[in-house]
Symmetry: C2
Subunit: 422 residues, 2 copies
Amino acid sequence: MALIVHKYGGTSMGSTERIKNVAKRVAKWARAGHQMVVVPSAMSGETNRLLGLAKELSPSKPADATNRELDMLASTGEQASSALLAIALQAEGMEAVSYAGWQVSVRTDSSYTKARIESIDDARVRADLEAGRVVVITGFQGVDDEGNITTLGRGGSDTSAVAIAAAMKAHECLIYTDVDGVYTTDPRVEPDARRLTTVSFEEMLEMASLGSKVLQIRSVEFAGKYKVPLRVLSSFTPWDIDINEEAKSGTLITFEEDENMEQAVVSGIAFNRDEAKISVLGVPDKPGIAYHILGAVADANIEVDVIIQNLSKDGKTDFSFTVHRNEFAKAVDLLKDKVLPTLGAAEVVGDARICKVSIVGIGMRSHVGVAAKMFRVLSEEGINIQMISTSEIKTSVVIDEKYMELAVRALHKAFDLDQPAA
Amino acid sequence: MALIVHKYGGTSMGSTERIKNVAKRVAKWARAGHQMVVVPSAMSGETNRLLGLAKELSPSKPADATNRELDMLASTGEQASSALLAIALQAEGMEAVSYAGWQVSVRTDSSYTKARIESIDDARVRADLEAGRVVVITGFQGVDDEGNITTLGRGGSDTSAVAIAAAMKAHECLIYTDVDGVYTTDPRVEPDARRLTTVSFEEMLEMASLGSKVLQIRSVEFAGKYKVPLRVLSSFTPWDIDINEEAKSGTLITFEEDENMEQAVVSGIAFNRDEAKISVLGVPDKPGIAYHILGAVADANIEVDVIIQNLSKDGKTDFSFTVHRNEFAKAVDLLKDKVLPTLGAAEVVGDARICKVSIVGIGMRSHVGVAAKMFRVLSEEGINIQMISTSEIKTSVVIDEKYMELAVRALHKAFDLDQPAA
């Protein structure tokens, strides 16, 4: 008997028929003797429907007061689906109870629409589990210290599930989704992409942060921080498949490197077309410039990804970085209005038609020349590299978005990712 | 400057266009200098949609655990509409904030799906009003002592609004709805029905309890208990009509009888086809029988309306009462399974095809022969009376439901309700 957390995405919860299947699957696990905590997303389409209504009422950019209300609004989607799942479990003959984030409680900071979980008080949940109940907890949402409802941002239900699994020291957190695992790259771009049976936490973290949509990055960070064994698997297998077979399916995110295992140099190709590039040109090259620019951006709660500062020339330099496309206009306005006047820089220019393509692999630690090979492959395809960013286990390039598919396919082939693992 | 509570029904909140109109109307009142608290219902159709999903998952009669989940589910409708209204108010340039029942907090007992408000802590709301904000509070819902979400039952948003108005000692509570006031009877049954400009609290209480759907009865009880001036008016007037004209429109529920005013003998005809009749036949006529039968019904949280005990014959009597049709089957099962065996009664029989028709009027206190006139009118129409119940200001009869419209029209005419008030 183990404590298991299941997380079901919006597609898996997309209709009452599918909710019934989720209930049957969860009941199967509970009847096998496990203590079950389930974290469902809102029914697919529901969050968009709600936020669409809000947009009709307030077409302009939301102020912070409006973000508070957007969280009040959007959080109802998960509350409804959690209650529905509890009802379906009861109809299956299980004892079940659902909780909203504030009832558990899942404490977050007050950054509406993208809050961060600070703590989880699991006493109530543990009492229910001891009493033999299946506990359903709303994903995506929490409550701040003043009792305001917050949401964790898109994909936040993954983070909720992992955070709950961490707080409860769950044996494993199973993320049920509409794909059957983590692939070497997106099969919609590269049909020869292969499913990985395991992937290291670090690789997964890079892939998530680089735009692979399978798991939300903060959920992977949480899993890493608290060593929560995490498995991505399909919710579209029949609910009554053998539980032992199901428990080994999908992709397991591992925390210990298997010394005996031959690591592939590159495990996957990630890409992301949600970013935009901003350059501040003609910046006086003196100490404090990076902070002056990025501090203002951070104060506006805009996340920055790749950052590059060019070589100085005549005491001036160019400073470039990428942000999410949704925040592109806000960031450019901010820099023009607030930063340029005090910085003495010449100009702010931006480009939203870029993408980031990355190769990721634990094996890159012990192999040289991997980045160079990436650059050669892209060069052979005639693709110009605009920005480069590296870490121990990945190399990312920013290129024109029109070359994205071409770059992904060429790299997938060059690094033998279409071949079965050793 | 006064503290005003507005309540908007589901139809008034039925689309983003209508929500915008609500926001404009509320903003008009706020700009006229009033402190505004607004209690919206869920968007029309939303509660039914949510409960319909639940029914697909669990077609059988809900257990108490399921009722808890139904409240988790249904309460999301009001939370969403409250957030949408706050967003619309912000788009109108108002400062606004929305609260769910647990945030205010609206404390209730734990009778899921029909909880009763026990207390309201208005400190947070008052601070917002002092800071110049419009406060939107979800109707229909509250929170029990264990932090579970509860709902007040259908129409509960009226009760929420009045309870909040009472707790905040509001100057007036305006119930905006899709009718423009309280009528002598339902105009869909009697086209000659007239709107009442005022109605006494006691008459309104009888009309609400007797099936007039304009106001939920508990809201009228609350208004009476705390002397909350209550006005029913239309949300379909243009939002920008003159505020002084609007403030005098609809029907005002008054608490002081105007001595100088000629009271109509009968103010209105109420009717209700949501009831069912249950008879326990052949009951031994001895002390404690009524308690034995009705105590069991009350313990199952089933409300009883009309009660009649017939004359005893051969030491046996018949005992009849009415319950809501939704609880008819539950009550009959209960009596057959639990009460008959210990009571020594012969039989339980029921009839769901009945209706209750009532005449209501403060003037009945000082006029004799009003009930007799009612019975004569029904007799002349050939309508058989099955049960009779009276109070100081009303007389109700239970009749076959097929005669309902006929009875209402005949009584409306006989008591001159189609004539302009004196």
